[in-house]
Each structure stands twice: as structure tokens, then as C-alpha cells.
Subunit: 332 residues, 2 copies
């Protein structure tokens, strides 16, 4: 019989928890340089490949948990109450239940994202990581980082990486209960590294990442070659980070992202997150690179590009792309 | 030692040929429903996978060969003389030399394409097929269709299929000399089938198909899964043609084309033939299909879409896409 999230989490918690008073936590969004794409276990969000990301410093989710005083749970997103039967509130409450269990304490879960929701900027990653960190404080669990990461993964796979700042590697793990599938921060920093968020579109996606990766795994012949590529790319990225080799970092991240999109494009029905403006921006990056600017991009399951460059080229990049939001992941 | 084109062709020709007087031949362009992508032998244009196409009836190349009266070869394309050191003339003369050899007869090779050159509409396929057919007449060779196809393949791989009208299958073959790698027409016709040529851009490509497929084979991890997919798609297409199952034909052709593009996108440097307008057209096709119109597309190594639909839906398709050039491959 397959393990459920409840089974797995319960092993690491006391039989009952004490009621909490209030807690608040922040978790950064993260941009994968080697993507997570494909699950070997849908219940536990166990990945087919290991991945590597860089967290976005101040951009992310802040979640506050307080006892509710009217006897019912409340879920707020960016200040707006979400109906309990909405997809968003349903996921949040289901995650809270992994910890609350028999405890009869209704809660208000108030989340603020300072990044666009559901536009390929992985707000679910920072959201579930912030929720996990807030739950840890609220129930006074004092869980180890690996456990926080593994539990956050059950909310959203890439949330496992948003537990930390900086470069983060999520090891796929091999255990059936997934408890070796958690992220750890890399010790290296890269103060000059910049991530530029280029917003092509901010609407809700028609097919979310979860459904997208499932379709890819089930219908794209080319997906068969993905796990080996991801493993090779992860090694190249680690090497690039250790040696601070920007061209290796950028080229590996760009090819990895494009290969992930290639597996979607080869799915049926075809899954193309790109908009015409995405393609225009891609051609623009390639032209700038051909003209000598060391500029690369990555993309998640959405139409937006995330540009990768070094601080010394920030002016040139901002001149080429108006309204670019530039993040310095290692600034603080 | 690797076999050269000269070695292979010479085996099937008399030691010397008689001078010719004049000859003219037409060959259709063809649209692959299962694409040729990747070579196992670059000299002989031997493919890694078998492919299947439909020829475009009246659209193609007409080539006329006449003796030149000023002692030098001349190559004309659409009425304009091409310098002998140009890429185009170089390829044409190199192909002619496979047959002319020691014969001291300068020629004028005059080709007219009624399709845009080098814009993903495979003018090299119809061009080399027409040249092969014209050479066969000019030198009075009376070669079997399989030989004409195999020799045309040495000029441009997909030219092997442009020897015929209708549905054509190019068997990859296994022999080192490639003489089992030729195309044969399928017996089935499909009078209601329509191909709509949607021109997104008509400029010369920065990376031609030959260089594109080489880059893909050498750098795209995902290419490893391509040969098996192509084999599976070819079987589905043959089945669709025998049963006149349009949805199976269209969906298989579209996924095959997108998978080929996916292998390019996963290459390094990335190879994206799509323009913003290509992506806009793709989304439009998917929307129309979601709205109930049985419409699919295929794309070659270029930005243009080739729409696939049935005669009964021609008006609806033409209403959606202005300036569509519609071809009825089995009309005459």
C-alpha cells in the first residue's frame, strides 16, 4: 500500500500538539537552474530527478498563522479571503491538517506574496515553504531543516528548495517514504550573480505545473532522455558554482530549461507555455549574446523569462529590457 | 574507407555517357508527416529514421538542362544567374558532376521554384528531385524509380521523397552504400486531404537544415529518444492513411513535428526556428481545435506552419487564416 503524507508526517510529530498562539515566517521564491520536471510519486511529490536552484532573496511569501476567533478556518491571500472550497484554500488547509490533526483549533492563515501568483514565478514554492516554517513555529516543533524541506515538498515539490536562501540542491532521494528527498543549501555564494525577472504575461496558466509534468511523463517520448540530462546538468552547475564560471552556469541553465520545455512541446496534447513575446525575448537574448553580452535565461512552466547575468552587465541588460526586475540573490 | 557519392553512383552508370540535347522535368515539394531528422552518414545523406510525406501536387521545382554554348556551366534560379562560386550553384554542379564525370559538355541548369526558397518549404527537396529527373532524361539513363530516389537523396535527403506524388515513405535502409535507403509511393490516396501553407516569414534561415540536424544529433540529449518515436509515428501514420482516420493522421503529424522541433530547442546553442508569429499561429490552431475544428499542423525546419485539414473544413480554415495557400495533394 502506498504511503500517504499523513503517514509520513505523523512519524516525526508528537502524538498531540499544544495549541499555538501566533507565528509568522518568510520564505523566498526560487529559480531552478536545473529543473524539477516529473514525479516518481504523486502523493509525496517525489521527483524523477534532482534539481538545483537559487533563491530570490527578498522576493517570496510571508505567512502568518493566528488562532481564528469565530470557530472556522480562514485563508487569506494578499489580503483577500479565499473561499474554503477554492483550490488555493483547499491546498493550504490540507497541508495544515498534516500537522493539526485531532487538535480542535481553527486558524487564520494569512499569506502575502510579493511576486505574481501562478505566472511561472513559483509562488507555490515560497508559499508552502513559508507555511511550513510558520507551522513549525506555531506548533513549536523545532524540526531540523531537512525535515522542514521534506515536509514542504509534500505541499509543492519545489517548496523543498525555498526553505533556504542562496544556491540549493534538492536531492531526489530513493526511499519509498521520501525522507531522503529533501533540499540542502550549497555553501558557495556568488555576490555578483543577478537574476532579471522579465514579465511577458502574468495571467493564470491554463495547465498548472503539476498537470503539465504529468502529461509530459505520460505522453512525451522525448521525456525518456530527461533524467540523464538533468543529472549531467546538475553536475555541470555544481562545477560552475564552485569555479564561478558564469558562462558554464548560464549555458547549462539555459539548455536545461529549454530541454524541459522541449519535453512539454513533445507532449500530447502539446504543452507550450510560450507566448509570442516569450519567443521575441528569447531571440533578443540570443542576439545580445551573439553581440558579446554574457546573458543567458531560464524559464519555468510559464511564459516568462528569468535572465541570468553578472552585476557588471546590469546596465546593458536593463537598457535592452525595460521594466526588468533585478534580484541580487546574495546581496544581503 | 567511407564510400563517396561518386563511388556509389558510378556503379549504376555506363562507363561514359553520350552528350545530351535537352531535358526538362518537374518534381513536387513534399511535406513530411513523419520527419527526417538526423543522419547516420553525412556524405550519402543516410537517415537515422524512416520518414513519410505527402507531395504538394503542382507546387515544386521545374528544371531544364540544355548544353551551354559559351564553354562554361551556367546555373539559373528563378530566371537569375547564380555565380558558380555561390552555395546554390556549387551544390547543383556537384550533383551534375556525379553523372557527367569525364564528359566534356558544359551545361545550363535552369530551375524555377514556385514555392519560396529556403523558408522551410523544402525547395531543396523538389529541386534535387527535379534535377535528378532532368539528368535521367538528359543522359537517357532510364533509371528505375528506386535509383532515382536514392540518387536524389544524395543531393538532399528529403529529395528522395519528391520523386513521387501522393503519400511517400522513405525507408531508412541499413546498407553501407545506402542503396536500400530510397522512397516508394504508397498506393493509398486521400482526395479530401488539404494542406494549407501559412507563411509566417520567408527570409533565408540562419542555420540550414543540414547544419541544424547535425547540431541536434551532436548536442541534444533528448535526441536519443527521437528514432524510436519516429518509428512509432510512422506506423501510426500508415495506419491512419489506410483507415482514412484524419484525427490520427493530424495528431500524429503534429506531435511528430513538435517533437522534432523539441530536439532542436534542446540543442546547444539552442535552435529555435519559430518566430513570435509562429507561436501565435500555433496557439490559434489549438484554440480552433478546442472549439471543435479538426485542424492540425506540421512544421519543418523553419518558422512556417503547414495546416492539415479536410476539404469540408476548408472555408472555416481560410476564414481563420487569411492568405492561406491551400493545396489538394490528390486533386489531379
Amino acid at each position: 500500500m502506498k504511503l500517504t503524507k499523513q503517514d509520513v508526517v505523523a512519524r516525526f510529530l508528537p502524538a498531540t500538539l499544544a495549541e499555538g498562539a501566533q507565528a509568522e515566517a518568510f520564505a523566498p521564491s526560487n529559480i531552478a537552474l536545473c529543473k524539477y520536471w516529473g514525479k516518481r510519486d504523486k502523493e509525496l511529490n517525489l521527483p524523477i530527478n534532482s534539481s538545483l536552484s537559487v533563491s530570490l532573496a527578498h522576493l517570496g511569501s510571508r505567512t502568518r498563522i493566528t488562532p481564528s476567533d469565530d470557530g472556522a478556518d480562514h485563508v487569506l491571500l494578499n489580503g483577500e479571503e479565499q473561499p474554503l472550497d477554492s483550490k488555493f484554500a483547499g491546498k493550504v488547509i490540507a497541508f495544515v491538517e498534516l500537522f493539526r490533526r485531532e487538535l480542535d483549533q481553527p486558524l487564520t492563515i494569512d499569506t502575502h506574496n510579493n511576486i505574481p501568483t501562478a505566472a511561472g514565478l513559483a509562488s507555490s514554492a515560497s508559499g508552502f515553504a513559508a507555511l511550513m516554517l510558520a507551522l513549525d513555529k506555531f506548533y513549536d516543533l523545532a524540526l531540523e531543516p531537512q525535515l522542514l524541506s521534506a515536509f514542504a515538498r509534500m505541499g509543492s515539490g519545489s517548496a523543498s528548495r525555498s526553505i533556504y536562501q542562496g544556491f540549493v540542491e534538492w536531492q531526489m532521494g530513493h526511499r519509498e517514504d521520501g525522507m531522503d528527498s529533501y533540499a540542502m543549501p550549497l555553501e558557495q555564494s556568488w555576490p555578483e550573480l543577478r537574476v532579471g525577472l522579465l514579465k511577458v504575461a502574468t495571467g493564470e496558466k491554463k495547465v498548472d505545473s503539476r498537470a503539465g509534468m504529468q502529461r509530459t511523463v505520460e505522453t512525451a517520448h522525448l521525456y525518456q532522455s530527461w533524467p540523464l540530462q538533468a543529472a549531467a546538468d546538475l553536475e555541470k552547475l555544481t562545477d560552475a558554482i564552485v569555479r564561478r564560471d558564469f558562462e558554464l552556469l548560464g549555458s547549462t541553465a539555459e539548455q536545461n530549461a529549454l530541454s524541459m520545455h522541449a519535453t512539454m512541446i513533445a507532449s500530447w496534447p502539446p504543452l507550450l507555455y510560450w507566448q509570442p513575446d516569450s519567443v521575441a525575448a528569447m531571440h533578443q537574448v540570443w542576439q545580445l549574446r551573439a553581440d558579446g553580452l554574457p546573458l543567458y535565461f531560464t524559464m519555468d512552466a510559464g511564459p516568462n523569462l528569468k535572465l541570468l547575468f553578472s552585476a557588471e552587465h546590469q546596465q546593458a541588460v536593463c537598457d535592452a529590457f525595460e521594466q526588468l526586475e533585478v534580484v541580487a540573490p546574495f546581496s544581503g
